[in-house]
């Protein structure tokens, strides 16, 4: 399967600054603001939007969520749906929008994600239960897992055992991304640089993961509009082509994953490369879902930037900042920007588009023709890999 080359593009984007205090605004309020900004960014009118793909809400009722969103925005799309792939949802809305546009179902498909984070709910037993399957509640919860934290800690520990990966190597991911965040005024954590020692001196939450290796939930929203480039002739920005995508899913709980150290990103990336007709060495920059440091390490290996097991060494030897040889999460990633619910995944899409447009300001990378974006959900469970390109 191929998308018609260069015809399916992201023509508008928006991202609200991630915040710890949404000031009483609702998820729908945030989504509407992001939608308005993206429509303006695309140079469209609201009436041009004929497709709506939404990531789930974080704390509102899921029930008929696309209808709830369409009602607030007063949209009557020809196609709408909610995409629930956890952290991969946002990237997956873009992939599905590309399919809808490529098939001629929609002309301009709005992809929306975001949510309001409630600290009173998040770190409670009920908050943990809300994101667990019944099998996890029955057979994992009695042993005291710490949700996603412990799942990724199991992966990190196993990777250390199999390949000798060190805490210092994992910490460098957070350090390089913080360097990127210092050049991003929207990042939640852009006040000071980090050192490897800072990361390793931060409290161990679930060994071997430290506080500064774990994403900070917050509130926010982000939007992207996918269109046929040859339809809207008057786009305000250069359209950014969706050259290809690939997805893969192998498990829900990490307990039942085929492997702890080889993730389905490997298959997702292979499929994306095949659809786009490019290879890993063609990629100029990456925007990789980073709920934890280990997520980025596994992603770099599985996409093929280095061999399996050599991720630690690769990170040690590679400058992952916007100044480096493989710019990675140049906005600071979610580790430094905060994870604005499901919009955290969209932040990787938005940053790639900024870089490909050449509008990333002081963190602009030099080589910016082709970007790889990955969305990751669950505990390396669901993967959506996008390849975006400047024409």
């Amino acid at each position: 399967m191929m998308l018609e080359q260069g015809q399916t593009s992201i023509i508008g984007i928006a991202e609200l600054p991630p915040t710890l205090d949404p000031g009483g605004r609702t998820t729908l309020d945030l989504l509407a603001e992001a939608a308005a900004q993206a429509i303006q960014d695309a140079g469209l009118h609201k009436s041009d939007i004929d497709g709506l793909l939404v990531a789930p809400p974080s704390e509102d009722s899921y029930f008929l969520w696309p209808s709830q969103v369409a009602e607030y925005l007063q949209l009557a799309p020809v196609f709408m749906n909610m995409v629930e792939l956890g952290g991969a949802s946002a990237a997956a809305t873009v992939a599905r929008a590309a399919l809808l546009v490529d098939a001629g179902i929609c002309k301009n498909c709005l992809c929306l994600s975001g949510g309001v984070w409630d600290s009173q709910v998040f770190n409670t037993r009920a908050g943990k239960l809300a994101v667990m399957s019944q099998a996890e509640i029955d057979y994992e919860l009695p042993y005291g897992p710490m949700g996603f934290n412990s799942g990724y800690a199991l992966i990190a520990r196993r990777h250390m055992y199999e390949y000798g990966t060190t805490p210092e190597q994992m910490a460098k991911i957070a350090v390089d991304q913080r360097t990127n965040a210092l050049a991003n005024p929207k990042a939640l954590f852009n006040q000071r640089a980090l050192t490897v020692k800072d990361v390793l001196d931060s409290p161990v939450i679930v060994d071997p993961l430290h506080l500064l290796e774990i994403v900070r939930p917050c509130s926010g929203a982000a939007a992207a509009i996918v269109s046929r480039s040859d339809h809207g002739a008057h786009t305000a920005h250069d359209p950014i082509a969706v050259c290809g995508f690939g997805e893969a899913y192998t498990h829900n709980s990490i307990v039942y994953a085929p492997s702890l150290t080889v993730s389905p990103i490997k298959m997702a990336a292979e499929r994306a490369f095949q659809m786009a007709g490019v290879k890993v060495s063609d990629i100029d920059l990456v925007s990789l879902y980073d709920c934890y440091t280990i997520t980025v390490l596994i992603s770099l290996e599985d996409i093929g930037f280095c061999r399996k097991g050599e991720g630690g060494k690769f990170i040690e030897d590679t400058d992952l900042t916007y100044k480096g040889s493989l710019p990675c999460n140049t906005h600071g990633g979610q580790l430094s920007c905060g994870q604005a619910s499901f919009a955290g995944g969209m932040s990787h899409v938005i940053e790639a588009v900024h870089q490909l447009r050449g509008e990333a300001g002081s963190r602009q990378v030099k080589n910016n023709r082709l970007a790889l974006v990955n969305g990751n959900g669950g505990v390396m469970s669901t993967q959506c890999c996008l390849i975006l390109g400047r024409k």
Binding site: K128, G144, S150, R158, Y161, P203, V206, L209, V255
Partner: protein
């Protein structure tokens, strides 16, 4: 077959771990359910397992949001690979934190919790099967 949860805990209450086994696929299954996830047939059998395995991976939980675990930190949340070739979540108990390591042999024991007998693991014999 819909009483699989009850069977699992009843067997465990007699202080041994029994798991479902698919006679078609010749594999043990965890977690308990009605159908084999591989062939989707509903003729799973119950068999006792040896209770021997290895620590496939682990995390030492220092901060827990779960009220019932807050005063138990640090504790070891464990992913066990049983000798029979499947993995299950559990705790590793009776193991000093400085001695825990991936690949160590473990053996079945049990704890009582909220009216149920739960399988947990403790350090096992060094000569146990190691993969």
């Amino acid at each position: 077959m819909s009483d699989y949860k009850q069977i699992y805990y009843d067997k465990m209450a007699a202080v041994h771990l029994w798991l479902q086994y698919c006679p078609t696929c010749h594999v043990f299954i965890f977690y308990p359910r009605e159908r084999c996830p591989y062939c989707l047939q509903a003729d799973l059998e119950w068999k006792p397992v040896s209770g021997k395995g290895i620590l496939y991976s682990y995390t030492i939980v220092y901060v827990s949001a779960l009220p019932e675990f807050k005063d138990k930190t640090p504790y070891i949340y464990a992913l066990i690979e049983l000798e029979e070739g499947l993995r299950m979540p559990s705790n590793l108990i009776d193991c000093p934190l400085e001695e825990v390591h991936v690949g160590m042999p473990v053996k079945l024991t049990h704890i009582e919790k909220e009216g149920k007998t739960l399988p947990v693991f403790k350090p096992g014999d060094a000569k146990a099967v190691i993969r």
